[in-house]
């Protein structure tokens, strides 16, 4: 138990640190943000990727082992306790957490406590008794909860280790390969549903996935509505702008490609010359001393931010407006026909179901632990024909005792032989 508590505290601290330190940045970034010494410390302790660091994995591994051992070690005693909870002899051997003497009729008390109809029994010395117990399943709450957490961590960890993720982006009419799967995604259509106020209501793509053996499956995907095709899940992830880039040499057409912002083009007969399409501004504005920006989402004043590299050295960067031509020696480059592209995320994770099952089992465990309160109530007949009522609820504590006393029709300090748990 002590080790589990220490692990929980350490895990909470580790998560806090991981959220407070910006993840996935470089030494230079941390040095600029904090100091060189702090940056070195962050990298040395793997705080830049805390949730995948060896120490974070180790904490979780310890937690898994702890949960597993806890459940295994508790299983025999839990089974025994579950049996004892309904065993009249075991119940009658107990002293109870609360008791009331001289009760004329015990049955109404059982009813008021919503106990099942009591069974007739006898104490060891043959005295008549009534015994009732309920909610034994509640004893299993913590055990089930631990099992759920274990499933969750294992499912999540296995998913992280084995999952495959790909991203494909393009405009309608384009077909792009899906990593090394042998499949390809053909983007049949892409629609951005706009409301009257120009805000986006939904992004919807119609795709056809071509399998390695020539078969195909089609689906419509939108945000919150992924599709499963060829055992992989396809998500409408994001969007951006694409444009047609045309290159001419000496006035003759040389090359024409649709580039998504962020992609580049190598000039066909001069591979050392690269045109990088950095960003697109549909309604371009340039304020003095500020970065380029767009005034709206409308294509009022299209501007294309590009950079040119020659032999891996940047030789220029600027914004090219619609209709303008960039000239590099004999080459002329134009950007035109801006259109939105879709980015489709593709994921293959066979352990998502395990993690989800873990979450559901955890919820079930908590429900059992908190809201299925095991209780046992018994009555032993006194010599004068009246009854001594006793009750016990492992989790009910003071609240159960209150309920018991209320059900027995007595108040604190009045005819009560109450015992501390």
């Amino acid at each position: 138990m002590r080790f589990a508590i220490i692990l929980l505290v350490v895990l909470a601290l580790a998560c806090s640190v991981g959220s407070l330190v910006t993840q996935g940045q470089s030494y230079a970034w941390y040095a600029q943000r904090y100091s060189e010494r702090t940056a070195a410390l962050i990298l040395a302790l793997h705080l830049d990727d805390a949730f995948h660091s060896w120490w974070f994995i180790l904490i979780n591994a310890f937690l898994c082992v702890n949960l597993l051992l806890c459940n295994l070690l508790r299983l025999p005693s839990l089974i025994a306790r579950t049996r004892a909870e309904a065993d009249p002899r075991a119940i009658l051997a107990g002293k109870g957490a609360v008791s009331v003497e001289n009760v004329a009729a015990p049955e109404p008390v059982f009813q008021r406590l919503r106990m099942p109809k009591p069974a007739e029994a006898e104490t060891e010395d043959g005295t008549p008794a009534l015994v009732s117990s309920k909610n034994r399943a509640g004893l299993w709450g913590a055990w089930v909860c631990h099992l759920g957490i274990l499933l969750l961590i294992v499912g999540f960890s296995l998913g992280q280790m084995t999952q495959k993720q790909y991203a494909v982006y393009g405009v309608p009419g384009q077909t792009r390969p899906v990593g090394d799967t042998g499949c390809a995604v053909s983007i049949d259509d892409f629609d951005i549903g706009l409301r009257a106020d120009d805000t986006v209501e939904q992004y919807t793509a119609r795709i056809t996935v071509l399998g390695p053996d020539g078969q195909s499956e089609s689906a419509e995907i939108s945000v919150n509505n992924p599709a499963r095709l060829f055992g992989m899940k396809f998500y409408q992830n994001s969007t951006g702008w694409a444009a047609t880039v045309r290159v001419t040499e000496g006035g003759e057409p040389l090359q024409e490609e649709i580039l998504c912002a962020g992609e580049y083009l190598q000039v066909a007969d001069k591979p050392d010359l690269v045109i990088d399409f950095n960003a697109f501004y549909p309604d371009y504005v340039q304020r003095a001393g500020a970065m380029p920006e767009t005034a709206s989402g409308q294509l009022n004043n299209p501007g294309y931010l590009y950079s040119v590299y020659y032999q891996e050295q940047m030789i220029g960067m600027n914004v090219l407006m619609a209709g303008e031509t960039l000239t590099i020696d004999d080459y002329a480059v134009t950007f035109s026909e801006p259109q939105p592209y879709t980015m489709i995320q593709i994921k293959e994770d066979h352990f998502t179901g395990v993690a989800l099952a873990g979450g559901l089992v955890t919820m079930l465990g908590l429900l059992l632990a908190f809201y299925v309160q095991p209780a046992r109530v018994w009555a032993i007949r006194q010599e004068d024909g009246r009854w001594t009522l006793r009750g016990e609820s492992r989790k009910g504590g003071a609240i159960f005792r209150d309920q018991f006393l209320r059900a027995a029709g007595v108040k604190d300090g009045e005819n009560i032989a109450e015992k501390e748990e």
Partner: protein, 271 residues
């Protein structure tokens, strides 16, 4: 409809303030009538608060759970609901005196947020939104009540006027048990929140867990309360120590709600 909601919201704030004053007057004057009036006023405030949220939902054409204002006012509503449930269930009127200031603070925070109604971004257009956020409201409300109970527990021993307190505040053992009930309610609903959020994230973004700051701090909060439950089983940790731990847990809740939005923006920046 949004104008009606705006008017109702102002009335609700005033009613909660009046209820708080009546609760304080009840403790100062020790008159049962004031306590009954305070509870009645809190109930009236809750009913109007519910009406305000319904108006907001009709006016916005969606569940009113998607921005800072809507979540803050719903949080106050959830805290009011859970505190009233505990007041009636455990016959514990004094709880209202400590819950009312927290409710008033949270609804005051809501009043400072923009009330503008925005259309939902595509990722938020999901049926999971209702499950995810409404369970969070109940969880936060329950943790708020556990915080209030912890404060009562810690103040109980320092208070004078034993006779009045003994008749209106449960003994230490029962107070600790009620606090445990509120933490368990909160933890159960926080688990619902995290699980429904994970299912929703898997559908929306293809990843059910991405260590987003809000996710991470929800997990931290969950771990802190899980540690509270484990510590409580250990000898000597029931009572005062558990009360302090529950109060610390609520600090995590508030950091998850306000601190993360302020200092650690992520994919939950709208909530």
């Amino acid at each position: 409809m949004l104008q009606i909601e705006n008017t109702l919201f102002t009335i609700v704030m005033l009613i909660y303030f009046a209820a708080m004053i009546l609760y304080f007057a009840f403790i100062a004057a020790r008159k049962e009538g004031l306590a009954r009036a305070a509870v009645a006023l809190q109930c009236a405030g809750f009913a109007l608060h519910t009406a305000a949220l319904v108006c907001r939902g009709i006016g916005a054409g969606r569940l009113p759970l998607t921005n800072q204002y809507e979540f803050a006012t719903s949080f106050a509503w959830g805290l009011c609901l859970v505190s009233l449930a505990f007041i009636f269930w455990y016959k514990f009127t004094v709880l209202g005196a400590f819950a009312a200031p927290v409710i008033f603070l949270i609804i005051g925070y809501a009043a400072m947020q923009s009330k503008a109604v925005h259309e939902l971004m595509p990722a938020l257009r999901s049926n999971w939104l209702g499950f995810h956020v409404s369970t969070a409201i109940i969880a936060y409300g329950a943790f708020g009540v556990s915080f209030v109970l912890s404060i009562i527990f810690l103040l109980r021993d320092r208070m004078k006027a034993r006779g009045f307190l003994d008749s209106h505040i449960p003994n230490r053992e029962k107070l600790d048990a009620i606090s445990y009930r509120s933490v368990s309610l909160g933890l159960l609903f926080l688990t619902f929140t995290i699980v429904t959020g994970a299912i929703w994230a898997e559908r929306a973004w293809g990843s059910y867990w991405s260590w987003d700051p809000k996710e991470t701090w929800s997990l931290v909060t969950w771990i802190v309360y899980a540690a509270y439950l484990h510590l409580r089983i250990r000898r000597g940790w029931q009572g005062r120590a558990a009360a302090i731990f529950a109060a610390v847990g609520f600090v995590c809740v508030m950091f998850t709600y306000v601190g993360v939005n302020t200092f650690l923006p992520g994919i939950h920046s709208y909530a």
